[in-house]
Amino acid sequence: MNESIKQSVKEYILNTFLPGEDPKELTDDLPLISGGILDSIATLKLIMFIEETFGVTLEAHEADKEHLNTINQIADLISARKS
């Protein structure tokens, strides 16, 4: 299940924030917040996407590097919330 979540999140990030970039460069460990891909506006959009797509609810304190900095972390958070 985690892989499909990762794929879905990855596609969303590529299409929404990184159009035209090489998908191979967006690895599961790439820092998204500290790397400047996800700023506050992008983070909000991503959260809204996650909540709509996966039917989960995220908390304000989870919008940080500890939970959303990499695709792996995002997938783990969604999985944990779904289970």
Binding site: E21, L26, L30, I37, H61, D64
Partner: protein
């Protein structure tokens, strides 16, 4: 574009370090210490001592088992705070801090704990404001406030959401973190980051980054001093387009002080394994309003985002992304304004409520909302990997950053203006003369921004030493080389080799004193409310942060009373006041002095001393003023040589400016003096112009025709801003002073009195020298016997001769030094001073003309 850095695989996350790496770091820390000493970086705040404690602590800390390090850092931080503040202050501070932390951990609900914290904070706030008594000294407030005002919010927030258990060592390390004892203005370090990023990288890389950032901080602070001492202007000095641009840019560049301090602070924390984010990221290169907000104070932005922005955004997102972003952004800027005022309250004790401040944050908030909406609609270019370099992209970014830089220069000048009216008047300077110098700031800023956007010029954070190889050695050599050069040129024997101008400039950069503008503000602040030191933009606020609330001032001491007429105020006759420095007695004639008969006894040499606060003896007890000491010595050592008795009548009035000495002389003449001794101090001409500007603004009649003529010539009228009135009168300083001195000289001659002019420096060092030479020539032309005491404090430790850091009046020892020098000066000129001219022989010198006016 935001290149994404590759995540390096750290080599040693266990905190271990090899002997050679350790030696390299320690050698660099010694150079940092030398730099701090040579440039007196935050010396008055005790930072050199804190740095010595920190670096010595580092040498132990680096070899401790990892589990011992955090407790060691906590103890070291507490010890440094105790050493700096003293045991009693520290005990109170620790007690209050521990109490607040204890409330956070009470075994009751989050809501109850939060309510208790608010209640306790309310009591503390009432004590800070002086509404409730407190058993501790005022001195602890700025640092206590700095440690807890924001960190308590973050800590409490994280306690609710963070699963990691808090430990006493980490908690005390977080609140009392080492360099905080020196700095009321401190970055808002995030608790979770403080916890999570502890030794999470290669150890040597963390330490080296700390050294690099401390060096970067020192360079920022040196650049700040160049701006602060040499480039800042008062609004009255902004008369041409070139000066207008200099004023705008230099105001904004003063932020180098904050970025310098924050780099130093965070760099020092790195030496103890705290791998924190950058505090500022080349904010002068911000290419847009959002980019600026992300770069200028990253810790503040993260704090706002975490505690206020995201919680608001999550509550509002059901309204749609755009609405949520607009409302949450405006909310953040409202909170930012409020928390700046709140910060000001804990540090200074008063709530900052200024229209420019409110408007500044409101404008910034609206601009950021507009920018965010634009980004939502059009997106922001992001890229994976390193951005490709092209001159075109550098050019585009340069233009964007250039526009942003000047936009913030304008906003910053607005924020820092004393009033909206004054800010609008500043723009009149654009109607002044256009010369080539108008291009200096636009061109220099363009070049700096352009160079900043060339990737090769970017200073990189230290890389992994095990991967960087040669690059690592090269970068360390560069760091050490820069430090050695900065230390070398700070040594007087080296700097003098580059010429006197360079040496003089280096001398100013090496001192941490106030600039001429802040010195003038401080002098003015002795007698007025400090409404013009109302932002963190001036170095003066740091000095005032230490000033006790009950520090004496004229109004509170009740020494003066308002009178109608040109003088505006005078000392209250027959009044006795008790100050913390002793008794201040005003005699029946309105002098701070013993009583004297209306007419002197025969063979008495009676001198009327005209001057201001130093003469009056501000801050010393009766009998300890240099006037009283000198009078005693004259009577003790010169009785009968040539006069039987000597009487010095102290007509010093705090806050008096040169033109006010004219009505003061009228009062003095009533007691039949044999001589008049005028005490000049720094910036006689400027202060004369300021006074005329003030009386015109207040609509007070000027009873001296020539002074009225000058006001008319300058076109000064009631209703003008203070800055404009001062600006118009600026070139008439010599002319005004010439009139004042000539009047005193003429009246002395007509009355058969000797006129003596004494120059008494207002400070041990400062910008008072600028106008002193002209003032002396004017006095000579007016027929005064000149006694120049400008070197009276030379070679002495200035800090031991003044009342306090925030009040540079001479203390009792300072008065003794002045009295001795004055006695020697009078003896050396005794043939002129003690020979009383005959009134019949008095001839008004028609050659007394004003010096050429400096334009």
């Amino acid at each position: 574009m935001n290149p994404v850095p590759a995540k390096a695989a750290p080599a040693t996350r266990d905190g271990s370090i090899g002997l050679i790496d350790f030696a390299v770091i320690v050698a660099q820390l010694l150079l940092v210490l030398l730099l701090l000493r040579q440039y007196q970086v935050e010396n008055s705040a005790g930072f050199l001592l804190v740095a010595q404690i920190a670096f010595a602590g580092f040498a132990i800390h680096a070899w401790l088992p990892l589990s011992y390090r955090l407790p060691f850092f906590a103890v070291l931080s507490l010890a440094a705070t105790a050493i700096l503040l003293g045991p009693v202050n520290f005990a109170w501070m620790f007690g209050i801090g521990a109490f607040l932390i204890g409330i956070c951990h009470l075994p009751v609900s989050f809501r109850i704990r939060g309510t208790l914290l608010v209640l306790v904070a309310g009591v503390l706030a009432a004590q800070r404001a002086g509404a409730l008594p407190q058993p501790w000294s005022d001195a602890i407030w700025p640092i206590l406030g700095s440690m807890f005002m924001f960190r308590l919010i973050v800590y409490f927030y994280d306690l609710r959401h963070d699963n990691a258990p808090a430990t006493p060592a980490r908690t005390f390390a977080y609140f009392f973190m080492l360099p905080n004892a020196s700095f009321p203005l401190f970055p808002v370090v995030d608790y979770k980051t403080f916890r999570r990023n502890y030794y999470d990288e290669d150890t040597v890389r963390i330490y080296q980054t700390g050294v690099d950032w401390m060096l970067r901080g020192i360079i920022h602070l040196i650049l700040y001093r160049i701006v602060y001492y040499h480039l800042t202007l008062t609004p009255a000095e902004v008369t041409t387009p070139a000066l207008f641009l200099q004023h705008l840019a230099s105001n904004f560049l003063l932020y180098l002080k904050v970025s310098g301090l924050f780099h130093l602070i965070v760099g020092m924390l790195y030496m103890f394994g705290f791998h924190l984010p950058e505090t500022q990221n080349r904010y002068f290169l911000a290419a847009g309003i959002t980019d600026y907000w992300r770069r200028i104070n990253i810790y503040w932005k993260d704090f706002m985002q975490k505690v206020f922005y995201y919680p608001a955004l999550f509550r509002l997102k059901k309204l749609g992304a755009n609405t949520a972003i607009i409302l949450a952004t405006l909310w953040v800027f409202f909170v930012t304004w409020f928390l700046h005022a709140y910060q000001w309250f804990w540090i200074r004790g008063t709530f900052l409520l200024i229209l420019q401040d409110i408007l500044f944050w409101a404008i910034l908030g609206v601009m950021l909302v507009a920018n965010s909406l634009w980004e939502i609609k059009h997106g922001r270019k992001r890229s994976l990997g390193t951005a490709k370099f092209s001159w075109r992209s550098v050019g585009v970014m340069t233009l964007k950053a250039y526009g942003t830089f000047w936009m913030f220069c304008v906003l910053w000048s607005f924020w820092n203006a004393d009033s909206l009216k004054e800010w609008f008047v500043l723009w009149h300077a654009l109607g002044g003369e256009y010369t080539l110098s108008v291009l200096v700031w636009p061109v220099v800023s363009m070049i700096v921004i352009f160079v900043g956007y060339i990737p090769a010029t970017k200073l990189e954070t230290a890389k992994d030493p095990r991967k960087d190889g040669y690059g690592w050695i090269r970068d360390r050599a560069l760091t050490a080389g820069v430090m050695v050069v900065l230390i070398s040129i700070s040594v007087e024997s080296v700097s003098t080799r580059f010429g006197p101008e360079f040496s003089t400039a280096m001398h100013t950069l090496r001192s941490g004193t106030l600039s001429r503008i802040d010195t003038a503000k401080m002098e003015r602040g002795y007698y007025e409310n400090l409404t013009d030191v109302s932002r963190f933009n001036s170095q003066l606020w740091e000095v005032y942060a230490k000033k006790p609330r009950d520090w004496m001032d004229v109004e509170n001491a009740g020494l003066k009373r308002f009178v109608t007429g040109f003088a505006q105020n005078e000392l209250i006759p027959s009044f006795v006041s008790s100050t913390k420095y002793g008794t201040v007695t005003i005699n029946r004639w309105g002098m701070r002095d013993q009583d004297y008969a209306e007419k002197p006894a025969p063979d008495t040499y009676r001198v009327a001393l005209l001057g201001s606060s130093s003469l009056m003896g501000w801050g010393v007890t009766d009998g300890a003023t240099f006037e009283a000491l000198l009078e005693n010595r004259l009577n003790r050592e010169l009785a009968g040589k040539p006069f039987a008795k000597y009487e010095l009548l102290n007509y010093g009035v705090p806050g008096y400016q040169p033109p006010q000495q004219l009505p003061n002389l009228d009062r003095a003449m009533a007691l039949h003096p044999t001589a008049v001794m005028y005490f000049a101090t720094g910036r006689e001409q400027s202060r004369s112009t300021f006074y005329l500007a003030e009386v015109v603004q207040k609509g007070i009649d000027i009873p001296y025709g020539p002074l009225r003529d000058i006001v008319a010539k300058a076109g000064v009228a009631k209703g003008m801003t203070e800055a404009e009135a001062r600006q118009r009168l600026a070139s008439y300083g010599n002319e005004i002073l010439t009139y004042v001195y000539a009047q005193i000289g003429e009246r002395a001659r007509k009355g058969g009195m000797r006129a003596i002019w004494v120059f008494l420096p207002p400070d041990i060092q400062g910008a008072w020298q600028q106008e002193a030479a002209d003032a002396e020539r004017i006095a000579e032309n007016a027929g005064f016997v000149v006694l120049n005491l400008e070197d009276v404090f030379k070679g002495m430790d200035g800090s031991k001769l003044i009342l306090a850091e925030w009040d540079h009046h001479p203390n009792a020892r300072g008065h003794e030094v002045i009295a001795d020098r004055l006695f020697e000066g009078m003896l050396a000129n005794s043939n002129r001073i003690f020979s009383v001219p005959s009134p019949q022989a008095a001839v008004v010198d028609p050659s007394v003309k004003p010096l050429e006016t400096k334009q």
